[in-house]
């Protein structure tokens, strides 16, 4: 059969496609012709120094920032179109922030059931069951009824992950989610992310954890001054980077080997 499927995404259509995206704040150019393709089950790690545009890129993908040029497509449909319902798009994308951004006036459980109930139309029991399951999986079963401020940073960030997962997003965006954590708490959060990666969750994460990126990523992007300077499988980027700037960055952040 040919012809009838012209409107449907062809097999191999990327889940997310970013084409020549440009974003500036006033005079400052933050993203400069950024292009990226994300296939289902990909784990893309964005690395690069602070201010290289990693966070801005994630925010643009979640439509939290309006881009100045370029195109973003989700499942083949352009979501950077002003006529697109942004809330519907965000309903399919989960985002976790560096500073957790949990709602302090709601219990852990209510944080996790808010969007499923109010945006996705789940009943209270359904939403709570789903949230309890996920919270239990991530070792938070004792904290369900507590308020976020009672928890440690690592626990809060795990709750934030669960909150994002409760809506069953097609794509998960993680913005330096371990950057605000103590070194010994970083592990418990990364274990979960590794778990999610193994279960086939499609993710884009901005991170400073190079060994984690090397181990989990299907593809690593090195951003510098708002451009993706180099992209490839972790083995390639970390072992034989093509660009001099990538090499210099990695020398600074990687522990000396040997």
């Amino acid at each position: 059969m040919t012809g009838s499927g012209a409107d449907l995404p062809a097999a191999g259509t990327p889940l997310l496609e970013v084409l020549d995206v440009r974003k500036s704040y006033g005079e400052r150019l933050v993203l400069d012709d950024v292009s990226l393709r994300v296939q289902p089950h990909d784990v893309i790690c964005l690395i690069g120094s602070s201010g290289s545009g990693k966070s801005t890129l994630l925010r643009c993908l979640d439509l939290l920032e309006e881009i100045d040029d370029g195109v973003i497509r989700l499942d083949g449909r352009e979501i950077s179109d002003p006529l697109v319902d942004q809330r519907e798009v965000r309903g399919r994308i989960g985002m976790v922030f560096q500073a957790y951004n949990l709602f302090p006036h709601l219990s852990v459980l209510d944080n996790c059931t808010l969007a499923p109930r109010r945006v996705h139309g789940l009943s209270r029991p359904e939403a709570e069951e789903r949230a309890r399951d996920l919270l239990a999986t991530f070792g938070l079963v004792d904290h369900v009824d507590k308020h976020p401020d009672r928890l440690s940073g690592g626990q809060q960030q795990r709750v934030a992950l669960v909150r994002a997962l409760c809506t069953r997003p097609d794509l998960l965006l993680l913005d330096e989610i371990t950057a605000a954590l103590d070194p010994e708490l970083v592990g418990e959060v990364l274990t979960i992310v590794r778990d999610l990666a193994e279960r086939g969750t499609t993710m884009i994460l901005a991170t400073h954890e190079m060994s984690f990126a090397r181990e989990v990523a299907t593809s690593v992007c090195f951003l510098s001054e708002g451009r993706i300077l180099e992209q490839g499988p972790p083995a390639e980027i970390f072992s034989q980077p093509r660009e001099e700037r990538t090499r210099r960055f990695l020398r600074r952040v990687l522990p000396p080997s040997g």
Binding site: D20, R22, D68, G70
Partner: protein
């Protein structure tokens, strides 16, 4: 940086955004026009409109009562201008006294709580009547004994109790980590309040403070109850002689004209502070 020209797709999107913006402006205009025309028409076509117009919106009576009201309004403005700084100082003092933690300041704290509880409970008009008629009778030495002075004091006492609670809410809304970092720098508690907590608290409570001050401008009219010749008293005077209520509308306009610029002015200050302190945060 190379020269950048927007792609055709971006130009298309900009045109679309412009169209969407124009459409929402058009909808806003049409909806507002329809609403206000409907309300106006309902008013003007109601059976009693000619009578209401003659008793409340008579141009001649507005003109005739205007000079007396304007002169009276000056008294309201004077009351307001004198009361406002006094209220701010007294209220901040009360709020700080309530927040004091030093043991030897306990009597002050108790006094502040009692003051606030009591004077927030007493209706302002009763306070005006009691002070303005009662205090001069005491014949106190060394303080003014006029009606004006005691009416002013009544407003200051009543409003400082309210405003103190607004300040307290602001102080308590500042995150404890701010106090902790002030402590960590070796600041005394008084210094922490003075340089760290209060400046942030005050900024946060500007909108409710303004709310109270607009309320205060209107409550200056309460002094008309002790026969002080303010704008409301003048209007009532005219109404009693001419059986026409237009002066009340005139007085209302005076108050509105005073309060609206205050509201816009604070909005502007708030926006400026927001831009400076929360640049880019979302």
């Amino acid at each position: 940086m190379s020269a950048w020209t927007p792609s055709p797709r971006e130009l298309e999107r900009r045109a679309l955004r412009r169209r969407l913006r124009l459409r929402s402006i058009a909808i806003a205009t049409a909806a507002s026009l329809a609403f206000f025309v409907a309300v106006g028409a309902a008013l003007v076509t109601s059976p009693g409109w000619p009578t209401v117009k003659a008793t409340f919106f008579s141009v001649e009576d507005a003109k005739a009562s205007f000079p007396a009201i304007r002169d009276g309004f000056w008294l309201n403005v004077k009351l307001f201008l004198l009361a406002e700084p006094l209220i701010l100082i007294l209220a901040l003092g009360l709020a700080l006294a309530r927040q004091a933690r030093a043991a030897w300041l306990t009597p002050l704290r108790v006094l502040a709580v009692a003051y606030i509880d009591f004077f927030r409970g007493v209706p302002t008009i009763l306070l005006v009547l009691l002070l303005a008629f009662g205090m001069p009778a005491l014949g106190l030495q060394g303080v003014p004994n006029g009606l004006f002075f005691w009416a002013l004091m009544a407003l200051v006492i009543s409003y400082s109790a309210y405003v103190a609670e607004v300040f307290r809410a602001g102080i308590e809304s500042i995150h404890p980590s701010q106090l902790a970092s002030a402590d960590a720098l070796g600041l005394s508690r008084a210094q922490a309040m003075r340089f760290v907590i209060v400046p942030q608290a005050v900024r946060r409570v500007v909108p409710p403070l303004l709310n109270d001050f607009i309320s205060l401008t209107k409550d200056t009219a309460l002094v008309s109850s002790v026969a002080l010749f303010d704008a409301v008293f003048s209007a009532r005077d005219y109404t009693a002689y001419n059986f026409n209520f237009t002066p009340y509308v005139v007085v209302s306009l005076f108050f509105v004209v005073l309060t609206v610029p205050m509201a816009r002015g604070t909005d502007y200050l708030q926006r400026r502070a927001m831009r400076r302190e929360r640049a880019g945060a979302r």
